[in-house]
């Protein structure tokens, strides 16, 4: 294709946007709203997943050993567990460390009454941290088959709740995003349809003169893609500026939750959000205008 044809096509597409200012603005506003909501849901989803991941990394399965189990066997068990796919980290806690931790957590100044005795003499254990809380059951099933393990402590409720909440947030977000994009495609399709009806005479002349399908269709496709691109860029700018303020507000208002609410920095979210949003914006524009052009412009 000649550069002059590309220039002509681009000019026609841009002219059409300005010719139908109201509809173009309405389309940009709609796509902008959808991408804005998408950005918000995305930010919430990613942050929620991050928080869940943080909590997950703190959820551990604890295994205790049979009395008088040789140290070699304990080391061997630790190595076997560490090789499992579900496991991210295995930490050995000796009986002494367990007693010291218990004293610090629950006894305080009364600990001295025990003298040098260690009531948790048989409490050496492994704290096993998981890659994914949903895998806890598989791991426990395996641990029950290992010789030398006397007891397994797990936090089934926490694991199940976190896994369920994570899936729920993901599914709800995806459903809402899907609906928003369907609405966007419909609206952009309407805008392009109006553009086509306004330019019907011009299109008729183009066809009679012998313009190729590409030359007739390209300005409309381009119009849709430009509207999609602008509609995606504006909310990204808005989100960039309000994100930090929103996080600051939440951290200040809910200071008690600071240890749980581990928010991601805006740069980390935008690293993925910007390309996704721009591709979605242009994609919506392409799809919306493409559907309309196919329906209304049988050239």
């Amino acid at each position: 294709m000649r550069i002059s044809t590309l220039g002509f096509t681009l000019k026609q597409g841009i002219k059409s946007i300005f010719r139908n200012k109201i509809f173009s603005l309405a389309t940009i506003a709609t796509i902008g709203s959808c991408i804005f909501l998408f950005g918000l849901f995305y930010a919430v989803m990613v942050n929620f997943q991050n928080i869940v991941h943080q909590v997950e990394s703190g959820v551990a399965v604890t295994v205790f050993f049979e009395p008088d189990l040789p140290d070699e066997r304990i080391v061997q068990i630790g190595q076997e567990i560490g090789q499992r796919a579900e496991v991210s980290k295995v930490v050995y806690v000796s009986a002494e460390e367990a007693w010291n931790e218990f004293k610090d957590d629950y006894l305080g100044e009364y600990a001295d009454t025990f003298g040098d005795d260690n009531p948790l003499a048989d409490s050496a254990n492994y704290e096993i941290y998981l890659n994914d809380v949903a895998m806890q059951e598989d791991l426990v099933e395996y641990l029950m088959t290992v010789d030398g393990i006397s007891e397994i402590h797990k936090s089934a409720n926490v694991a199940n709740t976190l896994a369920t909440a994570n899936s729920l947030v993901s599914y709800v977000s995806l459903a809402i995003i899907f609906i928003l994009f369907a609405v966007s495609i419909f609206l952009i399709s309407n805008t392009v349809a109006i553009g086509i009806s306004v330019r019907r005479e011009e299109i008729g002349i183009m066809k009679l003169i012998g313009a190729s399908d590409f030359v007739v269709r390209a300005p409309f496709m381009l119009e849709g893609m430009i509207l999609g691109l602008v509609g995606a860029a504006i909310p990204l700018i808005v989100i960039y500026f309000i994100y930090n303020k929103a996080i600051g507000y939440v951290m200040q208002e809910f200071a008690v939750l600071n240890s749980i609410l581990a928010f991601l920095p805006v740069e980390q979210i935008f690293y993925t959000l910007v390309p996704i949003a721009l591709i979605l914006g242009v994609g919506i524009g392409f799809l919306g205008s493409g559907l309309t052009v196919r329906r209304h412009l049988r050239v």
Binding site: S4, T5, E201, E202, G204, K207, I209, S212, D213, V215
Partner: protein, 228 residues
């Protein structure tokens, strides 16, 4: 140049628009097609432009079998045919230069060629000095001359004019017909669909008279035949 063999066109409503017409128009001819409403003139134009496909029969234009033309080849085929219509069909938001240049832009003619060709063709139709005027600033005759300039700028071998004088006064009608004759003398085959009895009778060209989808008469140096 144009060959129709037993062409039938029946619309989906079942009404026949053309009932087996055959005709042959040689390169360089000037032909009037006359007939009252419903005679099939518009259907004939649409078939030649490949806006419609015939129900049966064969249409050959400039060595191309139009009936077998693939969809993707239609744009290139149409570049062989210039069109002029009763209502001018100019782009109202663009000036004379842009209206004419538009015909070259949409078929990807390089910019420098467009700059060279447009003034030339405007000069041919006598509108060189009005290049910057918008259509609404021109008379009906001038608007039709812009339409003719747009139709011939790509140098098509065939020019179709569908009621080109329908919206013009007698003086402007004659000027347009003289312009079409001038274009014909340069070698372009010209087909004019018209109701203008005075012009048809005065110009002494080939006249094809149609009625109810059939060719009623086809005469060299013919005359306009009354409906009755």
């Amino acid at each position: 140049m144009i060959l129709l063999e037993d062409v039938v066109k029946t619309y989906s409503s079942g009404s026949p628009a053309l009932s087996g017409i055959s005709l042959n128009i040689d390169a360089g001819e000037f032909v009037f097609i006359v007939g009252d409403s419903g005679s099939g003139k518009s259907t004939l134009i649409k078939l030649l432009l490949r806006e419609l496909k015939p129900t049966s029969g064969r249409i050959i234009v400039n060595n191309t079998d139009v009936t077998k033309l693939r969809h993707s080849r239609i744009p290139k085929y149409r570049r062989n045919i210039g069109c002029v219509f009763q209502d001018f069909r100019l782009l109202k938001d663009r000036n004379v230069y842009e209206n004419v240049a538009f015909a070259q832009r949409v078929i990807s003619v390089p910019g420098r060629e467009i700059k060279r060709n447009v003034p030339q063709v405007l000069s041919t139709v006598g509108l060189a000095e009005k290049y910057s005027s918008k259509p609404k600033e021109l008379s009906g005759g001038e608007q039709q001359r812009v339409a003719v300039a747009r139709a011939i700028i790509n140098k098509p071998p065939i020019l179709l004019a569908d009621e080109p004088t329908g919206n013009l006064d007698p003086k402007n009608s004659w000027e347009i017909m003289k312009l079409l004759e001038k274009i014909n003398r340069r070698g372009t085959t010209v087909l004019v669909v018209t109701h203008n009895r005075e012009i048809v009778n005065a110009m002494q060209k080939r006249v094809i008279t149609m009625k109810k989808g059939v060719i009623l008469a086809d005469e060299e140096r013919g005359e306009y035949i009354d409906e009755d």
